[in-house]
């Protein structure tokens, strides 16, 4: 009974090791009394954090190929500071996804926010901070609109946000006159996007802040429970008193807000806006969320998303450094392969969990302490 309460052991190496670790410890009861060493070992198996292993693999391979350029602080700075906007968008995608709603407008929401920041800077006397605030509010309004279409008009979120996305693109084209705009932000504003704090790009801290907040809400508050319950079984959640319509609507609004923030961060970093900016961000963000969903918990989660993104980003960076022609083709190739692999992995966890649970039960019937010896699911 005690043994099977430890965190899932899906991988043979960790399970075997943890089994022997337990032999020296007295039996305990409950998940949280499971020996720390075993919990850690079970937690770092390759099936739970494959992206970390991927990351290490890339680091080894590409530093062998590019010994002078790959494992340098410049590479890290580049990848991290470039990745912040995409990661923010991935987090924005993650919130409605937890409630089983797709927000495909994240790319164009970000473009709207960026476009507004730049346009307001060029055409009005508004201070940059006020422009940024307006841009975020506009994105919140767009998210609320998507939510209205999904909840009130009962349109599938996939279609609703695809529609919203095109409407946003139209707005963006209208703003920019389909040409590139270059803002003249004050230096103080630009510094917010380009400064370094203790050798780390300042924008990384924004991402960290949003991630911690989102992780807290998703994993440690009733709101997070409501989101995942709505995503898992909307009917059951509703009949249990979860206001599922509000949950979906709210998730799309939150998604809009974070996309707005991503656009503001973008404007701080470059101050250049072109109407083709947005759509390119959709794919990497979505790929990161889906690959991330196979990490740690077998459902969309914040840290899995970030790790998945950065593992891929380092791979792409390594490829780019290794090839002479700049290898523009490497990024979409990487993302495409990663997404397919991620989703094919992500469709397994429930089956795996069931199998694991059954194996646990069967073994318990025979010999309670035999559980760790079972083969991986």
């Amino acid at each position: 009974m005690e043994i099977k309460n430890r965190p899932k052991v899906e991988d043979a190496p960790a399970a075997a090791t943890s089994g022997s670790a337990n032999a020296t410890l007295p039996p305990s009861s409950g998940r949280h009394d499971v020996p720390l060493a075993r919990r850690i070992l079970a937690g770092i198996g390759p099936r739970r954090i494959s992206a970390v292993y991927l990351f290490i693999l890339f680091a080894v391979v590409f530093s062998l190929i590019n010994p002078d350029t790959f494992l340098t602080s410049a590479t890290f700075r580049l990848v991290f500071s470039e990745g912040v906007v995409t990661c923010l968008l991935a987090l924005a995608f993650l919130i409605p996804l937890a409630a089983n709603a797709y927000d495909l407008s994240i790319g164009n929401l970000m473009a709207l926010s960026l476009g507004l920041c730049v346009w307001l800077n060029l055409h009005t006397g508004l201070p940059a901070a006020a422009a940024a605030l307006l841009a975020i509010l506009a994105c919140i309004a767009a998210g609320a609109f998507s939510g209205f279409v999904v909840v009130k008009l009962r349109v599938n979120s996939f279609i609703a946000t695809l529609g919203t996305s095109q409407i946003l693109l139209a707005l963006v084209l209208l703003l920019s006159g389909n040409s590139q705009l270059i803002a003249e932000f004050p230096d103080s504003y630009k510094k917010l996007g380009t400064d370094m704090v203790g050798g780390i790009p300042i924008v990384v801290f924004y991402l960290l802040g949003v991630s911690i907040l989102l992780w807290f809400v998703l994993e440690h508050t009733p709101v997070g429970r409501y989101l995942f319950a709505t995503g898992g079984n909307e009917q059951a959640a509703r009949l249990t008193g979860v206001r599922t319509d509000r949950v979906v609507w709210g998730s799309l609004i939150a998604s809009g807000a974070i996309c707005g923030l991503a656009g503001v961060v973008y404007s701080m970093r470059t101050g250049i806006f072109s109407s083709t900016t947005g759509p390119g961000y959709l794919f990497p963000a979505v790929a990161a969320v889906f690959l991330g969903a196979s990490q740690f918990q077998q459902r969309p989660n914040v840290w899995g998303t970030l790790i998945a993104y950065f593992a891929l980003a380092f791979g792409i960076q390594g490829l780019a450094l290794s090839s002479t022609s700049g290898a523009v083709w490497s990024q979409p190739l990487f993302e495409g392969v990663a997404l397919i692999v991620a989703v094919s992995l992500a469709s397994r966890p429930i089956v795996a969990k069931l199998r694991e649970a059954r194996a646990d039960k069967d073994l318990e019937a025979i010999e309670p302490d035999a559980a760790p010896a079972k083969t991986p699911g």
Binding site: F216, F228, L239
Partner: protein, 504 residues
């Protein structure tokens, strides 16, 4: 010579004999009604004919005097059996013509082009011959319920003229049909009979059996009780034959007297229910019995406000809004739904999170964070109290057995200390041990002062746990029984007849 002869049909499952040497004759041009209570062997017999179950050795089935082997569904089809089940297996989005071609294939011309004109003409002719005049090009979804059943019948007997379809089996065809459309269906069935097919008509509704059946065969506990001409029977005789000498249960403990009314339902209407009114009292377990289609299935979800409804629901004088489960929950109502898979729980969430989903806010500390310690101790409490196995709060709910899942679904409501506890088929798909535990929980909840309402198709369950029972039929309360009057026999009788009143 009868069209279909069944001799010595038996079917044994491990531990039970579902069919025991049943003989049955069906003539061409006859509607033969097959009746029996739940578990009498009707559906087993149909599944054997469909080639779904292999009968025990010694079973003989002859069609037109020739013995047929019913090894699989293809063999059953080749022998001339056609089935229309409750679930019609039609596609709403397709047209009637397309639905009729499902499973049969289209007539095609050059380059595989479908000969739409011929298809349409044939479809229309078939529908005409069954007495329907709607356009076969219409999408199926736009048809009335009886018309859809008509399409399913047309599809089943499509090749009767070529000698393909011989025996049409209609399995509870009216269970989901509004009363007004039943006559339309009967007209169709009579046309099928005129074509010389044999019709086996399975139904719970005795009035239908009498109006459409030429002969009636009764099954009870896997044996055939007899075959009668419809004119030889009346409803009372038929019920007596169906129920037989069912053992009346000895009354158990004293019925709880019941306190003040807590739940007041007035004029409740749904698809089947017609103006239902009743009160549920604190401390009492109130039961609703009824056959499938009697309105029993929709009663509790309607009270809870899962969907739209007519009529009022009040808890201690406080009105509960329709289609807003949250309003019902705020008023102190809890619903344990019949469809556990789709409505009971979130199966890939953990046992613990399912249990606390009713009100996670109660577990929060500063910054609205759920305190893991508080959650764990509450969940452990419930798991211990309800003897949930395995005792692992972090497993996904899907990993538990049906009985243990149901305990969690009930526990998530018990933690809310509901004023009104609604349980729909509380022990469906649940093992014996969990069933006893759930029954004990239900009694306990009532003893603690809740008004408990149980809707169940399991008459034994109703008699076991209820202090008072209402019997539903055709959307109305047709009788009530106090605990002293209650017996499986009596509850079953009232569901069928619907006019035998308590004490009469």
């Amino acid at each position: 010579m009868p069209l279909l002869e069944i001799r010595d049909m038996s079917k044994t499952f491990p531990g039970t004999r579902a069919l025991d040497r049943v003989d049955l004759d069906i003539s061409a041009g006859e509607v033969h009604a097959l009746v029996g209570q739940n578990g009498s062997g009707k559906s087993t017999l149909i599944k054997v004919l469909a080639g779904f179950y292999e009968p025990d050795p010694g079973t003989v089935v002859r069609v037109d005097g020739e013995e047929v082997e019913l090894n699989d569904s293809a063999a059953s089809r080749a022998a001339g059996f056609r089935f229309v089940h409750q679930d019609l297996a039609l596609v709403d989005e397709l047209s009637v013509v397309e639905n009729l071609a499902l499973g049969r294939g289209f007539q095609t011309g050059a380059m595989g082009r479908i000969r739409w004109r011929e298809e349409r003409r044939a479809a229309q002719a078939m529908l005409d011959s069954l007495g329907f005049d709607f356009d076969a090009r219409k999408p199926l979804g736009s048809l009335a319920a009886a018309e859809r059943t008509g399409v399913a019948i047309a599809r089943a007997m499509w090749d009767w003229e070529d000698g393909g379809a011989r025996i049409l089996v209609l399995d509870e065809p009216t269970a989901t049909l509004p009363m007004a459309e039943v006559e339309t269906l009967f007209r169709t069935v009579r046309r099928v009979r005129e074509r010389g097919l044999g019709v086996i008509y399975v139904s719970h509704r005795l009035d239908e059996v009498f109006s459409i059946g030429d002969r009636i065969s009764i099954l009870r506990d896997g044996k055939k009780v007899g075959t009668y001409k419809t004119s030889e029977l009346d409803e009372d005789k038929l019920i007596a034959l169906m129920v037989g000498g069912a053992v009346t249960r000895a009354a158990g403990e004293k019925a709880a007297p019941g306190g003040a009314p807590v739940l007041t339902v007035e004029g409740l209407c749904g698809t089947v229910l017609r103006g239902l009114s009743f009160e549920a009292k604190a401390g009492q377990v109130l039961g609703f019995a009824g056959l499938t289609g009697s309105g029993r299935e929709e009663l509790l979800p309607l009270i809870f406000g899962a969907g739209e409804r007519l009529g009022t629901v009040e808890v201690e004088g406080r009105k509960v809004k329709a289609a807003k489960p949250q309003s019902a929950i705020d008023a102190g109502i809890a619903l344990v739904p019949a469809d556990r898979l789709h409505q009971g729980g979130v199966f890939d969430m953990s046992v613990s999170q399912n249990l606390t989903l009713t009100d996670p806010g109660r577990l929060t500390g500063p910054a609205k964070a759920i305190l893991p310690g508080r959650e764990r101790s509450e969940v452990r409490d419930w798991i211990g109290r309800l003897d949930v196995r395995p005792n692992s709060p972090d497993l996904p709910l899907a990993a538990l057995s049906g009985g243990n899942q149901q305990k969690i679904v009930i526990a998530k409501w018990l933690r809310m200390s509901p004023r009104v506890l609604l349980l729909d088929e509380p022990t469906q798909g649940v093992d014996v041990g969990a069933k006893a535990m759930i029954h004990a929980l239900v009694r306990e909840a009532a003893a603690a002062g809740a008004a408990v309402v149980v809707a169940s198709g399991d008459d034994e369950e109703i008699c076991d746990i209820c202090d008072h029972v209402y019997v539903l039929r055709d959307g109305e309360i047709v009788g009530e029984l106090s605990q002293e009057q209650m017996s499986i026999d009596e509850v079953g009788r009232m569901q069928l007849a619907g006019r035998v009143h308590a004490g009469a």
